[in-house]
């Protein structure tokens, strides 16, 4: 199990040279980056600010008041804030709704509309434990309050549990472009999973099965290189490639300031998991065509399982044993909130270890001979 840096360097150099001489793979990677670039350019706001919005919500009776006019005219783009009367965000019962993961600072009059509104209650709406997310907007709000000199209004600060929107009111929220940040997060997740799948699974299988079919893998394995070194070099190469391209896409879509370390942890885990699958596939296939078929079966099997899970509860249990089920959740959560979801991650790692042990065993027994 000894790893020699010189051998790893040589094997990595070989893979890098192979990639450089593979224009179709480079073109596809370039295409994925271009898609990310197009998405970010088509976005109205700057990519960094497109993540979350803090809504300043005031009662309808305050509309056209100097105070709300001031808020409308001076609200900053960073932190991203929007000012709206309550009725624009309210459901049929008049209760305020928020797009998922957005924040709100809600102003509630403490007296009836007939009387003069000299007192207000300020309510913060944010996901539990994420005050830091609303803090920049709150800081602006209070400084603006003092600057405007609203000394005649007394206030009280409260906290309200986070509320998700109902479907009936979604259309109006979409018109306000508030929901679009959620879509971007999903697009980013899918794009990153696509990149990881392409580099760590498809390209891995393609390179490995090509090497095996030609006999190059056997020639390398008969040189003084251990099978462990061959596998390690492959893992490092494809993981580095996948994470590099994914990081680029993440930065393009979300902006450098919104990239969380947890996203990299998830990307590395997902890449490693898919490389274990790829090692298994390329160990069973002696030719590229067979490898492609196995790959197709894997994808088709996954798709079928996900579809069946929507119909029969038993398949939802089986679904828990797939990487794809957890990968989407983990990556989306890390991109949107920077959080690492502990339970899915633990399950994911257990699955990865099982696949890694199986893949390494199969590779050493039958995966390198032509």
């Amino acid at each position: 199990m000894m790893l020699r840096p010189s051998m790893l360097k040589t094997l990595l150099g070989k893979d890098l040279l192979k990639l450089k001489k593979n224009p179709s793979a480079l073109a596809l990677l370039g295409l994925l980056v271009s898609i990310a670039l197009l998405i970010s350019l088509s976005w109205e706001d700057t990519p960094g600010a497109a993540d979350r919005v803090c809504w300043i919500v005031y009662p309808a009776s305050w509309a056209d008041s100097p105070w709300t006019n001031h808020l409308h005219g001076h609200h900053p783009s960073k932190p991203r804030t929007r000012v709206a009367p309550l009725h624009e965000l309210a459901d049929a019962h008049g209760r305020m709704q928020l797009p998922p993961h957005d924040y709100a600072i809600e102003l509630l009059p403490l007296k009836s509309p007939a009387e003069s509104d000299t007192q207000a209650k300020v309510v913060y709406h944010y996901p539990s434990g994420q005050y830091s997310g609303i803090a920049p907007a709150a800081a602006w709000f209070w400084s603006s309050w003092k600057q405007f000199g609203s000394t005649d209004v007394t206030y009280d600060v409260g906290y309200a549990p986070y509320r998700l929107p109902q479907a009936s009111n979604m259309a109006s929220l979409i018109r306000k472009r508030a929901i679009e940040s959620v879509n971007l997060g999903l697009i980013a997740t899918m794009l990153l999973l696509g990149v990881q799948f392409f580099t760590c699974c498809h390209l891995y299988v393609s390179f490995s099965s090509q090497d095996r079919e030609r006999g190059t893998l056997m020639a390398v394995a008969l040189a003084p290189v251990s099978l462990f070194e061959i596998l390690t070099a492959r893992f490092i190469f494809h993981l580095t490639l996948g994470v590099s391209v994914s990081s680029l896409i993440l930065v393009i879509i979300n902006g450098p300031s919104s990239v969380h370390a947890s996203s990299f942890v998830v990307l590395i885990c997902v890449g490693t998991a898919w490389m274990c699958v790829a090692t298994m596939i390329s160990s069973f296939a002696k030719s590229q065509s067979v490898a492609s078929m196995l790959m197709f079966c894997y994808m088709l099997g996954g798709g079928t399982l996900f579809y069946l899970a929507t119909l029969f509860p038993i398949f939802r249990v089986i679904q828990l044993a797939t990487f794809e089920k957890h990968a989407v959740v983990l990556l989306y959560a890390s991109i949107k909130t920077g959080q690492l979801l502990v339970l899915p991650l633990a399950l994911f790692l257990v699955l990865t270890v099982i696949w890694a042990v199986l893949a390494t065993t199969v590779f050493s027994r039958m995966g390198w001979q032509s």
């Binding site: 051998m7 040279l17 001489k21 190059t216 020639a219 390398v220 008969l222 040189a223």
Partner: protein, 311 residues
Amino acid sequence: MNATRSMSSPAIGAGSTGPAPEVSARDAMITVRDLVVRFGDFTAVDCVEFSVGRGEIFGFLGPNGAGKSTTIRVLIGCQRPTSGVVHVAGCRLPHDLERCKPSFGYVPDADNHIDEFTGRENLELFAKLYQLNDRLVVDRLLSQLELAEAADVAVANYSKGMRRKLLIAREMLHRPQVLFLDEPTANLDPHSTALVRELLRQLAADGMTVFLTTHNMDEVEEICDRAAILCRGQMVACDTPANFISRYSESKVSVQYSTNGKTHRQRFNLERAEDRGQLADIVRQAHNVRLSSEEFHFEDVFLKITGQSYA
């Protein structure tokens, strides 16, 4: 272990003439004892035994499907034998494969280059894997095998012969103690064939053990010190090419003669009384009799041995 003889089970005419050169245990670079390889019910290699000494060129022959490639796969550690003991360069295989790797080179029957790389890049990759720091080795081998001009061309554009030569160059990079070659001169033009044969002779003279399979019997006659013939997984004979020929040669003559204005041509084996009688009659009765002796080649030996084995 005393001197070993490269003989195995049901030998045809084994030991009937002069003995083949023996390989002492100390000099043996390849030792195979009771090698059996089975795939399910099919026995690909059946109790094969032989030894090959240092600096020897050993031909491993047999018809298609005889078990040659399977034996080589065992000898390079790619195939686990069902039973038997295999030593290459002092390492027991497949257990000591990692230790044995620097000691041998393997030229397979189909080339296994990275086609996108140039010839030089292919050789440099393997030079690095063998931790050879001397960059001149690659240049020297490229020019030795007359590939220097095409060194910076992608291997995908090489001819079959050039690919073959590059393969041989690659496996010579680290100067292994034992070189396994599966049909080394297949697809080579006569000039390149002569070049490779001369190269193999030089390597053997420098002490490298060369183990080759070939279907070119001239090659065996020309360069091999010893040859073994495999048939249906069993080694049926092992000797020097000269001994093979002297042991299995037949005195054959070609006769051209005329009777009743017609010209006839016939071959006779003088070792058979019936043929001798017929020939005597022709010489007595026919006109314009012309006799010419026929040379007996290693190919005839091979056909005779494999023919008998299959019969």
